[in-house]
């Protein structure tokens, strides 16, 4: 059990996390749940960035820095998403994604 953590472990973790995020984004009815699942996928990507940086280019911190930027942008995105959610809820009294089909052509 003392085997060292390899890149594969991190990638497996990130893959599982991404799939969980996909599953959540596809199955959750609540829009806030979908937004959370999207956050999970962001995080999976961030883990990948950090892991690749740590194992493939150990002399720099480019990957970690990029992960930090992604978090920042994700925070901003979630702010916009929650603002939209609030606006939708106020307008239609519901937060379920299946009730919104205004974009259907």
């Amino acid at each position: 059990m003392n085997a060292p953590l390899t890149l594969a472990h991190y990638m497996t973790l990130a893959g599982i996390l991404f799939l969980i995020g996909i599953f959540g984004a596809l199955t959750r009815r609540n829009i806030s749940g979908i937004l959370m699942s999207i956050e999970l996928m962001f995080n999976a990507a961030n883990i990948n960035l950090a892991a690749f940086d740590r194992f493939l280019h150990p002399e720099g911190v480019t990957g970690q820095a990029l992960a930090l930027f992604v978090m920042t942008v994700a925070a901003a995105e979630i702010v916009v998403g929650l603002a939209l959610l609030l606006a939708i809820y106020r307008g239609t009294d519901t937060v379920y994604a299946e009730d919104f089909n205004l974009l259907k052509g």
Binding site: L26, E98, K104
Partner: protein, 717 residues
Amino acid sequence: MIEHAYLIPLIPFAASLIMMFGAKEDPHSPAPWIGIGAMAICLGMSLSILNAVAGGTVPLPYEHNWQWFSFAASIGGKSFLYDMPIGVLIDGPAALTLVVVTLVSLMVQIYSIAYMHEDARYKRYFAFVSFFTASMLGLVVSSNILVGFMSWELMGLSSYLLIGFWFEKDGPTEAQKKAFMTTKLGDSGLYLALLFIFAKVGSFQITQIHQFINQGYMTTTVATVIAIGILFGAMGKSAQFPLFIWLPDAMEGPTPGSALIHAATMVAAGIFVVARLYFVFLAAPDAMLAAAWIGCITAFMAAAMALVSYDIKRVLAFSTVSQLGFMMCALGVGGYTAGLFHLTTHAFFKALLFLGAGSVIHSVHTNDMRLMGGLSKKMPVTFLTMGAAILAIAGIPFTSGYYSKDMILANIYHANQPIFWIMLGTALMTAFYMSRLFILTFWGDDRDHEKHHHAHESPFLMTGPLVLLAFLALVSGFMLDRKGLVYSLLAKPTITAPQAPAAAEAHPAEAKPAEAHPAEAKPAEHAAVAVPVEHAAPATEAPAEAHAAAASHEGGEAEHHEGHLPHWLHLALPFLVLGSIGLAFFLYKGPKYAVADGLKANLAPVFRLLDRRWFLDDAFDLLVVLCDKVAALAFWIDANVVDRVFVDGWGLLMRIVAEVSNLLDALFVDRTVDGFGGLSLDLGVGLRALVKDGQVQEYLMYAAIAFSLAATLILTR
């Protein structure tokens, strides 16, 4: 003077242009004197040339050429510039013909001053006459047969203009069209012959064509084809059987114009061209024989028609045709000298006859001889001069016609016996119908008192030319025949064709001494000349050759052998002619000529045949009608067979093919295209059915599926 011979056609040409475009139309216009002056200058030049030629002071033939035009040509891959020369070629016949043409034209023009004085188109007539003469002179002097042909065609145009001079009437317009088309029919043959010559020889120069034949490059077949073509042209122009139908109708023109056509220009041109290219005929014995027979048939038929006609100009026209037949026949049997000699003498007495007839018509205002009679008292000068012409054409001894016709008959006698007897009969017929004309017109008492009362002698401008021509008609034969002048002047051209050696081999004994010992040539020549008679083969190369060779050495006595009849015939001929004249006198002397009428009643079918001109006009009419019917049939075939079957049928076939093609297109091609379109439409509709109600998570799911599929494909590659 001979170096300025090129001016001879150019001066009258310029004069005609000046008269046509420079002068105002006026019945008293002085413009005709321009043409007369020009012609007088030409006559002077021609006389000086003839003098030089006859005197032997210029080397013959005189030829001078100028650059005319050049064109790029290529033969066998080699390209070069072909230079076409233009020039003059004067030999004995040309010099003599120049004098004849200019003299007759001058006489005609002077005469016309008086004859045409009341005509509305006075100066135009003289412009036409000058133009006509200029064309003829161009043909005579030209060294280039192409230029000759141009002049020939210009002559056709001029004759058209002159015959139809009084175009207000129907007769002249019909006659001019007939003359033009008939001669054009003949011209087509000459044109083909010229093309053939150029294709074979590569030159239009007469001397070069002669050399080409001399060097034996021209086979007999080619020469025959060319000679027949030339003969065809001459048949049209010189009114030979069966194309002589235009000449009697050409009498619709002004009478002096007829004199010009009949004596100096138009009809002489055909004979002259045959003589000019005589070496081609020498190389083609078959064509010579054809010419002889055509001449013979023409002479006989025309003379027969002249026997029954009562129109004074028609009789003269038939007589011209008949005399031209004599000339053609003479050329055909190898009597080159005789033919051209007769052309010369005939020009004088025929011009005289026409001008005399014009004088009579001018006086009594009719062409019908039955309304004349007894004019000798009223018109003594015309009577006497016409009498001279009648004597000449009938062949009374020591007149010009006697010498030339005698020589023709002698040539024919030695070449072809059957033709000779026909021609002898024709010569007697000539004497008969000419005396008949003379007696009906001038002899006895008047038949139509009204006309006779108004008849008067013509003015001096008309009788002057008559007197001069009468003098020439009487003495020109004697002048030319004296000291063999005609033989040196009108020397027969020779060719040294490949046949010649064969001929020399055939008669080595005769031919060689003739050349070696001129003094002994006479017996040798007899033997050589006797050959064609024995074999009854006319105008074969051999005797002509041997004969010419001997002639060039002797230049005198023996050469004239062919020009003499057997002694008894020579003596008998004048008596036969006198008998013929006597018969005419007996038949037509009274005012009623009852004997002749009785004869006419008894021989009605013959007279009818001759009156209708051997039905040749009807034959040509029939030919035209037949051609019309054939054309109609051809048109019917075109409209009903070609158009229906081929054009329409082809169209129908095309339509069927197109329909089938259209069907196949609709069935297969269009279906395929439509099928693909429909398929993609169906696909799109089917795929759209998968998504419902714009659920964003569904879209996301498809995107995820697609993305993962793509990723799988890329990663597992």
